[in-house]
Symmetry: C2
Subunit: 420 residues, 2 copies
Amino acid sequence: MARRPWPRIKQEVSRERWVEIPEPVREVYKIWRPTPMFRAYGLEKALDTPAHIYYKYEGVSPAGSHKPNTAVPQAYYNKMEGTKRITTETGAGQWGSALSFACQMFGMGLEVYMVKISYQQKPYRKLLMNTWGAEVIASPSERTQAGRTILAKDPQSPGSLGIAISEAVERAAADPDTKYALGSVLNHVLLHQTVIGLEALKQMEMAGEYPDVVIAPFGGGSNFAGLALPFVHGRIAEGRQTLCLASEPASCPKLTKGQFRYDFGDTLGMTPLMPMFTLGHNFMPPAVHAGGLRYHGAGPIISQLIKDGHVQAEAIQQLECFEAGVLFAKAEGILPAPEANHAIASVIRQAQAAKQAGQRRTILFNLCGRRTILFNLCGHGHFDLQAYDDYFAGKLQDHQFTDEQLYANLRELEEVPFPA
Amino acid sequence: MARRPWPRIKQEVSRERWVEIPEPVREVYKIWRPTPMFRAYGLEKALDTPAHIYYKYEGVSPAGSHKPNTAVPQAYYNKMEGTKRITTETGAGQWGSALSFACQMFGMGLEVYMVKISYQQKPYRKLLMNTWGAEVIASPSERTQAGRTILAKDPQSPGSLGIAISEAVERAAADPDTKYALGSVLNHVLLHQTVIGLEALKQMEMAGEYPDVVIAPFGGGSNFAGLALPFVHGRIAEGRQTLCLASEPASCPKLTKGQFRYDFGDTLGMTPLMPMFTLGHNFMPPAVHAGGLRYHGAGPIISQLIKDGHVQAEAIQQLECFEAGVLFAKAEGILPAPEANHAIASVIRQAQAAKQAGQRRTILFNLCGRRTILFNLCGHGHFDLQAYDDYFAGKLQDHQFTDEQLYANLRELEEVPFPA
């Protein structure tokens, strides 16, 4: 078959400094890109901080998050390769929505295996995907062997992301015209997302500043990498001192509590092994509202950068995150996605540190304590208002793990022997 | 009391050509303004039309519609006048959300009387208002005499916009520090919305075109006036031939079936009489999903322009509108609000007419049948997915009125004696 070479595989192992964004992808990007960068004057005032706070807002995309940045090129490359249909899984629905939009733009079929409990609890996310022409199937389903096996054991199974992945992969493996697509973790996905940070570099230049701190939420790594990698390059190639800070949920602390091991990307162990900071592919995070961050491992690129000291991480509990998100909505007007609230909570910590430092310095040296902070507001919370309802109603809680719970899934994994 | 003069009253009766937007309002506008203007390449392709279609997208505002354009200056002017608290009503929730956002920006209190049936059916809209600090009260409530009177007669009353207005007005009338705010119809509201059309004029100039047709949905007039008035000025002052087309729901056809009479702005008859195209203030439109367009009358400015032949109108059934909205979501990626679907349906009619004209002309004269269409995509449909669900499920229907139903509420109203 005279198919074009697989650009996604080539991108996955590329050593090129620059990879061109294809023209048809740019045409679709034009619907919402470049995304706006805002100076958060309202938040600065609310925090009474000398820090300058900027944010890049990815919620203006049709699907409402940063996910279309990779969904669109993945749909395009698949189209070029002759793929007729894509399969994928979705939990909270952000990735499924983004890929539905992208497949619609290129006239491709899409099957989304949506975790059954989400399918039932989030009918609007499903409808959004339907409106863009995707078929959404509650997982486990009767359509695959994986689904039928689960249903035979437990007809009432609420499903899981691991099962949904298995169903999507099984469908893709059974048909040469069908391919499976993943929304984070892998190198080519992170590459696609760097459009965020490249735009941010130019926008910061227009604002006449360069960030001292760059912050983004951390799930599998695409959100964080998208904003931060161009600034990490500034550290490595230009000797800048920028603090690149990944903000992860305390309920799934792969970066701050996990270990650097060879692990699978999926729960069932169907992917190749990858070197990653991980809690083990069997780690089951509690059901927090920031569904997009409930992933056991970190993409290999970010894992290596953590190990090399170019990226820092902190874990934040969800009550602090929602408190930060509500403050942000009041101060800036935009209602953030629960995932984005993690970045906001980290920003507030940094801004308060800048304030304390500024006050100390004012007393001791009369120096300016200003600090420039840039963060990724990766999406809006229009489909996550149930989470805010639960927060206001006092139904959310923080999570504490025992060491046994955290490390039980790591024992069998091989340590990565790479040089530190 | 040394209060500043009432700028909103002055604006309501202003004869000035230009009214400056205050600096603090511009500061808040910066969160989402200027809004993007798009060339709808995807829709043009889907329709195979020679027409050039542009749209101004107001859904990028924090509340997701054009309503903050007037909510922000209204909150600001109230703040300047010394108002401590604003009251308002909301049905579907767009206006209540916008005013909640605006009041939060200026640190003002807000009481929103939300029609009880909407309060129960749309908890997410309520939560959005709560997140921005507004108090949302299901109407009819025990808080007002109007509410108590209704509840005494019918404890299970689902409420109505008329009742909610009465409650909000009663609360404002009872306290000198509290004022009532309205989201459409009045001259100062239309004035505030013209920021849309003024931006569009500049953006069309950047695109090197001038629209032959300008289209917007029509409820009370603020959405339509916001985009169209600067182009109506082009007709009157510059002799241009632009067709300015208001797209109203066939379920509430005040422009195409109503009459030009003196009528009240509210259902209970508490406002001054205004000259308006109306179906009568007691007209009760059926429960269609485009809640923002369920209003009995048209703002006086637009009514006079209709009478003078500078503005045209057409009424469209809701099934055609949802069909148009789904086509748009697939072609352009953005999920439109049900109100916006009316404009899209009108655009599709115009584009198809351009296509037919173009084909005829190609045969007869070999002339280009191109036509430039501009419309207002006044909001996104993220909180309206139940409407799309009902549409997909075949639960929506069109509405036919008898003359008796349409004209029953007009008999007692006085005709406007103005010169035609």
